[in-house]
């Protein structure tokens, strides 16, 4: 039973990371109706930029390597890079394709994926890098002693960060003028315009926020598994998460992420051995597919009948 809980908790925690990627996705889909395939690439780009700056900044500025100042400067610069990416995306991809069918925009974001991956590796190189956020990756003694369950303090930290991020986003959407505009635009473009924020700015903002989420996800992920190209594949698992949770639902992204994370680990451990293992690579997709057949609108989505 302990073992079961360990697997479950480990799965839930990797699910948190899927949820973070999916969250960036949902933000963009809600505000611009774009299915952003490049979200995973953005996570990679952000993480690589962050570790890249960590490496080069001490040399450029004479700051102490591994110090707090370097960390925050790298963070701010990476965030700035994500904002630049958002602006460039709006200007060179979204604006020229406005009013095109959604599928065209989707394909454009596949192009964007390649572009972003190429640029990231072109600038920072393609070798695998470790990332140390200074959070210990050791079992929590309390849980060990009292329940005999192995939980890493790092994973708990990651979950906490994700929770804070989601809460912060919720507050942002609820209580700021821009946040309200973003919500309005999701419901009705015309209404958003009447708030007085141009649609273009809204897109830039929402892509930048998604970039911020990508940066956080990338840092946590990079610290766990190293910053490497494989990140983009793992990030793809945010797609079945979205199918489960629905494209427009923030709670859906989180619940979906947790379900996918937990079930793929449990399946790997309990079913995997009977079929040769490695089923994590496809399990989330098949699960999502099966789920689609039962409930095409997702966990939290609404049933929709085409209007003719």
């Amino acid at each position: 039973m302990q073992f079961f809980f360990e697997v479950l908790i480990g799965g839930l925690l990797s699910g948190v990371l899927y949820a973070l990627v999916a969250l960036g996705f949902v933000l963009i889909y809600k505000a611009s109706g774009v299915f952003n395939f490049a979200q995973g690439a953005m996570v990679f780009f952000a993480a690589l930029t962050f570790v890249g700056f960590l490496e080069v900044l001490p040399g450029w500025t004479g700051m102490e390597e591994g110090g707090r100042a370097v960390f925050w400067l790298a963070f701010v610069l990476s965030l700035a890079a994500m904002v630049v990416l958002a602006i460039a995306t709006e200007k060179f991809v979204l604006r020229p394709l406005v009013n095109q069918p959604p599928i065209t925009l989707f394909m454009a974001t596949i192009g964007l994926t390649f572009l972003v991956e190429g640029i990231a590796q072109g600038i920072w190189g393609a070798n695998v890098r470790g990332l140390d956020l200074g959070i210990a990756d050791v079992p929590i003694e309390y849980m060990m002693d009292n329940f005999n369950i192995l939980i890493s303090s790092f994973d708990v930290f990651a979950a906490a960060v994700a929770a804070v991020l989601v809460a912060a986003l919720a507050l942002f959407f609820q209580y700021t003028r821009i946040g309200r505009a973003l919500r309005a635009v999701a419901d009705d473009h015309q209404a958003a315009l009447s708030i007085g924020i141009p649609l273009r700015h809204i897109w830039v903002i929402v892509w930048a926020v998604a970039g911020f989420v990508a940066l956080v996800a990338g840092m946590i992920w990079g610290a766990r598994n190293g910053v490497q190209f494989a990140l983009t594949f793992t990030a793809l698992k945010a797609l079945p998460v979205l199918i489960l949770g629905g494209f427009t639902s923030v709670p859906g992204a989180i619940v979906g992420g947790l379900i996918i994370g937990a079930s793929e680990k449990l399946a790997e451990v309990y079913v995997g051995p009977f079929v040769g293992g490695g089923i994590e690579s496809w399990f989330p997709y098949i699960l999502a597919l099966g789920f689609l057949l039962i409930r095409p609108e997702g966990l939290f989505g609404e049933k929709h009948i085409d209007r003719v």
Binding site: T104, L115, I119
Partner: protein
Amino acid sequence: MLYREAGQFKASYEADQQIFPILQDRIGVMLLIGFFALAVPLFADQYWLKAILIPVLIFSLAAIGLNILTGYAGQLSLGSAAFMAVGAFGAYNFMLRIDGMPFLVAILLGGLCAALVGVMFGLPSLRIKGFYLAVATLAAQFFIVWALVKIEWFSNYSSSGVITAQQIEILGFAFEGPQSKYLLTLFVVVMMALAAKNMVRSTTGRSWMAVRDMDVAAEVIGIRLMRTKLTAFAVSSFYCGVAGALYAYTYIGTVEPEGFNLDLSFKILFMIIIGGVGSIMGSFLGAAFIVLLPIALDVFVPMLLGDLVSSSFVSNLQLIVFGGLIVFFLIVEPHGLARLWQIGKEKLRLWPFPH
């Protein structure tokens, strides 16, 4: 004044419904096929045949397959490579396990296996559309590759699923050199391209396009959505499957399931975006473009920039150029090279009098 439509009146609907209604086009296509069937194998060197012409033909076939599903029937797929894999492993097993299996029959059976699997993964398309379906096809991509690695029977118990294609022999003639393999590939691809063109200009193709453009209206006309979509999945996967079999037998020789990965699926998608979504001709143009581009980059970038560049730089540049081109084409010419070709022809029609 050579390329004219004027004066060629069509006396019957039959004449009007030909694939190439304009005489010059018909002659042009004949010359083109003649050139590739006769002149090329005589004069092209081994490298061109093996590294460029054969893969271009094979990928054209795969691109036609994806174009049928995505370009004509409007169902986006990110799993074409997996269906190629099914075709390759299918053909391999038919050759391996049935004595005296004729090669052409084996690749067609490989294609049929792919069609069956395609229909299975196409079933969700009855309830889901658009992005949802694209994600569902990712399931096919990952699951199929996994299954081919893990179920060792498929690769006759070789390690990590690697298979080596058997010798091709048709009516006692062994296809060994690149010339003969090229000709064989050309024959299969031309025949299947012709059949594809026939399908898309008939009721089958119109039903696909109707479902793509407006599924509710299609249903109201009496088009069965289920049958139409599944036919598209079957035919598309069949084409990808045959392409996969050719990929194993006339191109690479030794293949493993991981070779048919998501990257390859994307490549095929890029071929139809750049070549022309919903165009058979575009499938060829796109395949040629995507096969040639990396080769051109490999050759010309070091030439221009000298020793400054590393190979990883070139591979990153490739990603950037691919990604950039996709976005560029979607914005500037969503109908791809095929449309540019058409515009060129229309210009030619006016030539030499521009007005």
